[in-house]
Subunit: 205 residues, 2 copies
DNA sequence: ACAAAAATTGAACATTGTTCAATAGAAAAA
DNA sequence: TTTTTCTATTGAACAATGTTCAATTTTTGT
């Protein structure tokens, strides 16, 4: 039975992912060490390289899991039959909640630098794209005349702006902004963007 | 004469900073190596540690110079006797120009992670603060009723949003957004934020 | 039970940042 | 100028890292 082998390899991969996730949560992605992960899993360093291409590959897999968790969190929070404005506001707030609750996993998404030469695997790009699609959904109702490309562009811009604000606020090591104040800012800013988009839309022929 | 000594040390520091700047421009901040810098300067590795505390300190000095260059670029571009809206738009566009012209130096500002335990030196925090003050200037005219704290908060939010948009667009390794389109987006977004701010201001007592 | 195949191991290697005893150089004293 | 003292510079040595691969152990098929 070759099933046993596959099961073992799958278990190893799972344990490596779990240990890495746990270590990122505890110390941050910059502090991930191959020997450290191996020790936590109870295997030799070399085994890590039989389950994943290298450390970057392992971390990328953790990051992809994080993207999926984020996607689930946003999907779970999505209100039924709410106005697109309410949906967008909820998305922004849920993003903030996820970022502050899983801070180190979340920063790992952006702090981990993929080797410049290598192409990012398609399955990871797909996981990123899913995020923008979540935003493009309600946006489509607000901009019925926009085509899919333009919708995705606006979704990316919206995400980037909110992301920028959250990043700057959460990374402050000295004057950390209070989370309820930050949430109010995010909500205010979301409304601001949406009303701006709406105005532009109304002006169209 | 102890002047000769001081001059030599100052020259060494300058050369180290120049070499590091050049290497960051060429390969990015992640690729900075102590031995490599020393070889470019023509000194021993150890000398680097007599001029700067460590590699992080050296890179932080380069980053602070970059912040100063950015501040100069924004100051130089500042129009006389223009509306605050025009000023903000110009700031955002000049920021985009700086980021795309000095891409690797600019990303080093955010990619270089300062050791978690150590406090960031005050002179570097001051250089950061100067940026927000540049934005707070025109913002003060738009929000005459706001106090300095609130102005700085709004300035930070404005910066963070624009920064987020520029970061996401410039880092795209696959579908790089055309710069003129990006500039249009930035301008549109700036107007959007400003009109939103104005509306909120008008509603106040 | 045995042999072939595969998986696992961890010592070994190449590269890092950083240190520090030894050397070279500059300043002061004779 | 010569000698002595202090300082600056050097680069071999160290510890920590990611990664590899010959040797070993485990699993599979008969």
């Amino acid at each position: 039975m070759s099933d046993k082998r596959e099961a073992k390899k799958a278990a190893l991969r799972t344990h490596l992912l779990e240990a890495t996730t746990q270590q990122i949560c505890q110390k941050g992605v910059e502090e991930i060490r191959a020997r450290d992960i191996a020790k936590h899993v109870g295997c030799a360093v070399g085994s890590l390289y039989t389950a994943f291409e290298d450390l970057d590959d392992l971390i990328l897999h953790v990051n992809s899991q994080t993207l999926q968790k984020l996607d689930e969190a946003l999907t779970k929070g999505r209100p039924d039959q709410a106005s697109p404005q309410t949906c967008m506001e909820k998305l922004a707030c849920d993003y903030l909640d996820f970022a502050s609750t899983h801070y180190r996993l979340w920063t790992a998404l952006f702090d981990h630098k993929w080797p410049e030469g290598k192409a990012v695997p398609q399955w990871h790009l797909d996981n990123q794209q899913k995020l923008f699609l979540q935003i493009a959904g309600p946006l489509k109702e607000l901009l019925p005349k926009a085509d899919q490309d333009h919708l995705l562009l606006e979704a990316r811009t919206f995400f980037a702006a909110i992301h920028g604000i959250i990043t700057l606020s959460l990374q402050e090591r000295y004057a950390a902004v209070d989370k309820t104040i930050l949430k109010q800012q995010i909500i205010k800013f979301t409304h601001l963007i949406l009303s701006g988009l709406q105005t532009q839309e109304d002006l169209k022929p």
